[in-house]
Amino acid sequence: MAKTKQETRRSTQIIIAISIAIICLLLSGISIYFYLSLKGLNEEIIKHKEDLNIINETLNEKQTNLDSLIQTKEDLDNIESKIDEIKSIYFTNAVKAEELARSGQANFKVCYLTFDDGPYSKTTPGFLDVLEEYDVQATFFCLEKEGVDDIYKREKMNCHTIANHTASHAISYIYSNIDLFINDLLENRKFIEDLLGIKTDVMRFPGGSPQVSYSGLNSAAMVERLREIGYGYIDWTLTTGDGGGPTYLTPEQFMHNVTDYSSEFDVISVLMHDYSTNTLICLPDMIEELTAQGYIFLPLSYDAPIVRK
């Protein structure tokens, strides 16, 4: 018998109800999945955010480190111009120091320690050791010498001034006429420039500036030639007397030749020779005594008031 309309409707309602129930069940299942996943996802997100913070901090540190290294490399690439820069500042201060000392307004005096005729392979290193120990700068009036490149370089590295004392110091030759003298000086300038990359601009006459006129040359003309080639010159205020020979006097006598008279001055230059073993022996005591008299030690520069131009 065919189903009655009522029965068909009832069946349809049941099917609809069951379908809706199945759909609701599926949706419930999906919702439960989403709900449970949310908790896990939240925890993952918190952990990932912490990881990301750590990574960002690490990135910042490494970037700072990298920036610092880049600066270091730039400094190294430009080290020569950085040296020129700091030297310019230093020597401006040094000139100011000498001017203050001369004016009597300073609570210090200025001493220029100078060593002529070197470098000497056997003795100059000893002088450099003492200067390094006392952290004192000096000026080396050098000749042109082979086989002692490392000593020139050490003088430069330790911030001593390398000045020109002519190439040969051959007094009878170089003082025979002005051109010969200037050529000898320029030869030494070239030697030092080729070796160290520095152009000397301070010189001392072998035997001192009076030697020019003693030799029959025109002092004014000589000084004018020096000016033309960019040199200033200096003699000395006091000397140990070691020009007479390295053991001409005892170390104590060498020292007293300087320290017995140095207190009378505000600015001095001291002439010594770095071949003199007795000068080397008295150098530490001399530095200590001059320090006690209020002296600071500076290397010479062209602009120093004590250098004649």
């Binding site: 999906i30 919702s31 990301l52 990135l59 190294l76 040296i83 700091i86 230093y90």
Partner: protein, 91 residues
Amino acid sequence: MKKITSVLYIIILICFIGITALLGYRFLNLKNENNSLIQEIDKGKSDIDELDREINDLDKEINILQEDKKDLFTEYQNWLRQNKKLEEVLK
């Protein structure tokens, strides 16, 4: 009664769909956020590796330069120190 039953069924269905949709929407958002974080972390790690490489390369270059320019570097440090000392005296 039949109408009430149909409406009830529809309301129930809408509720279930609504809840599922809300949960699904939240789930997708968090999933996207998590994926972004994972990508950022991977990029960060890759950036760290790149920086490490740059730092190592630069370190090597600097070591070579420092060796080649050891004397100049020492001279520079010495000038800095002497100038600081002189500036103290002039104060």
